[in-house]
């Protein structure tokens, strides 16, 4: 199923204004898209056009400007829903992926978890897939357990199945692609296990939806969370996709304008999905921008992006292995992993690595990557991480490798 035409990252880069050369500055080698992606002109323009042509509050104005604002906002929702095969009533805008997960934890969790109930997260979860459950568990008396990983950075499926059988697990929070290890988890298999044991499953798609075809019905999951700024979209917007019948049965979370059908002094009634979970003025321009990003990604093709990144990862593995002592975390097989590559160098702290490669304007991340439990499992406090996207090519990897070599010799002075 390799796509017919390859992506041409150099050509694409012309559509991302941040890569426009400035004077005789070294070109930007941006390898931190797992933290946030760069934005194409199509996205920035869609937002500017919204503000300049038709800015108004949505859903309630009867004048034409407000109609047009509402139409563009809801068209953004349609584009996003289409990208992941979701229904429009099951596609809720939040402020980021973290809020999407918190929405489930607070709305469903606070009202349904009981002392003794178990919430399962994984050792490779991002803090945003852990902390909301810890907070809600503290309020409700439920317990949070961590599914372990195996030596090669995969989830221990046998442990998960066993625990589902033996413990009163109510919900699983599983990351689709690890932002540290790059591991692509078999979430559809895990979803089947979960459902067989009466548990729900929330898939954290923050690192998968931007990078590979993700079809919500195929995942067989109950919820899918992802975030706009990692998928060519703006900051300030995220998405919770859910099964409408489950969302319908959930109590409201944030209260306010938009999410009501009636407000009385003695109580209130809620709006229909998806608005029931969108309190207050939504991120309107951001939804327009995210819609443009979703269209852009679909136009290029997620399968092509995935194929491109798979090649990029394979290339990077080869190139990085030429550096003495460099250790890469997570699965070796490029078929089993997404774009993020975490690594370490002996005697060189990740901070110093990232700082020194920035001398050549190579941007990589250093730290715990919001995955401290995983860091402890790996026996490190921090790693360096390079993560590519559709606008990166093998020259960027070469630039990284040469910057790493230079960092080495700098410290060996």
């Amino acid at each position: 199923m390799t796509p017919a035409v390859d992506i041409d990252p150099r050509a694409l880069r012309a559509e991302f204004p941040i890569f426009t050369p400035v004077g005789d500055r070294a070109p930007l080698v941006y390898l931190d898209s797992a933290a946030t992606s760069q934005k194409p002109t199509a996205v920035l323009d869609a937002m500017d056009r919204y503000y300049v042509e038709t800015n108004a509050n949505v859903h309630r104005g009867v004048y034409e400007l407000a109609d047009e604002a509402t139409a563009r906002f809801e068209a953004g929702r349609d584009s996003v829903a289409r990208l992941v095969g979701a229904t429009r009533d099951g596609t809720i805008f939040t402020k980021n992926a973290s809020e999407a997960i918190n929405l489930v934890a607070w709305s469903w969790g606070v009202r349904n978890l009981r002392p003794g109930d178990v919430v399962m997260v994984t050792e490779m979860e991002h803090h945003s897939g852990i902390v909301p459950w810890q907070i809600v568990a503290e309020i409700t008396g439920a317990e949070v357990v961590f599914a372990p990983i195996t030596g090669d950075g995969q989830l221990d499926l046998a442990w998960i199945e066993m625990t589902l059988r033996d413990a009163p697990v109510r919900i699983l929070n599983v990351v689709h692609v690890s932002n540290v290890l790059g591991t692509i988890n078999p979430v559809a298999d895990i979803a089947r296990m979960a459902h067989a044991h009466g548990a729900m499953i929330l898939v954290d798609g923050s690192q998968s939806v931007p990078h590979m075809p993700v079809d919500f019905p195929d995942l067989d999951a109950d919820f899918l969370a992802f975030t706009g700024h990692k998928m060519l979209g703006p900051t300030g917007i995220g998405v919770l996709v859910g099964r409408p019948e489950i969302l319908d049965a959930m109590g409201p979370f944030l209260g306010g304008g938009e999410m009501i059908s009636d407000v009385r002094t003695d109580g209130s009634d809620w709006a229909e999905l998806p608005w029931k979970f969108e309190a207050g003025t939504p991120p309107i321009a951001e939804a327009v921008g995210l819609g443009a990003a979703a269209d852009y990604l679909r136009h290029i093709g997620l399968d092509r992006i995935r194929a491109h990144e798979r090649e990029l990862v394979a290339y990077a593995f080869d190139a990085l292995s030429e550096i003495d002592g460099l250790a890469i975390y997570g699965p070796r097989d490029p078929d089993l992993r997404g774009a993020p590559i975490s690594f370490s160098l002996p005697d060189l702290h990740p901070h110093d690595i990232a700082q020194l490669v920035d001398r050549q304007r190579v941007c990589i991340r250093a730290g715990h990557h919001c995955a401290k439990p995983l860091m402890r499992t790996l026996g490190v406090t921090a790693t360096a991480r390079a993560s590519g996207y559709l606008y990166n090519d093998s020259h960027d990897i070469d630039a990284l490798v040469s910057a790493l070599q230079a960092a080495r010799s700098y410290f060996a002075r």
Binding site: R60, V62, D67, T70, I260
Partner: protein, 149 residues
């Protein structure tokens, strides 16, 4: 101005100024309330069935010209029909509002004049209010009967 004259056709203003079937039935088979979340307008519909036939229908409550005219037009057209026929009419009108069908006068009578509302997304809710209320009332009754209540 063409747009707005399309929205506020003479026929609509006529139904608004002189609503048909306005009021409340004394001993209704069906009684249903619907509220327009947009503006808070409240609509009350009462229906007297004769077997499966809508013998009488009355509407009351506040509303803008579109919602009032729509309730009047709907009342006109459904009275005398069976509940299943009425549900079909409602579905057709819903499709017209969502631009999924061309308005057919045989099925929705004067309400054909409301077709232009579908260019004003926010007002679609106003036009649909009475029709959705009636649908709600009819379906609830069918469900109740099936459960033998």
């Amino acid at each position: 101005m063409g747009g707005l004259d399309d929205l506020y056709q003479e026929l609509i203003l006529d139904h608004y100024r002189r609503p048909r079937h306005r009021g409340e039935l004394a001993d209704p088979t069906i009684s249903v309330d619907q509220n327009n979340p947009l503006c808070g307008d409240q609509l009350h519909i009462t229906v007297r069935l004769d077997g499966e036939r809508i013998a009488e229908l009355a509407h009351s409550g506040d509303g803008c010209s579109i919602s009032q005219a729509s309730a009047s037009m709907m009342s006109d057209v459904v009275v005398g029909h069976t509940t299943d026929e009425a549900l079909e009419m409602i579905e057709h009108f819903r499709q017209v509002m969502h631009r999924e069908a061309q308005a057919d006068e045989d099925r929705i009578g004067d309400a054909i004049a409301l077709e232009g509302v579908n260019k004003y997304p926010v007002r679609i809710k106003c036009a649909l209010l009475s029709w959705m209320a009636l649908k709600d009332g009819l379906l609830t009754r069918q469900a109740d009967r099936q459960e033998g209540r």
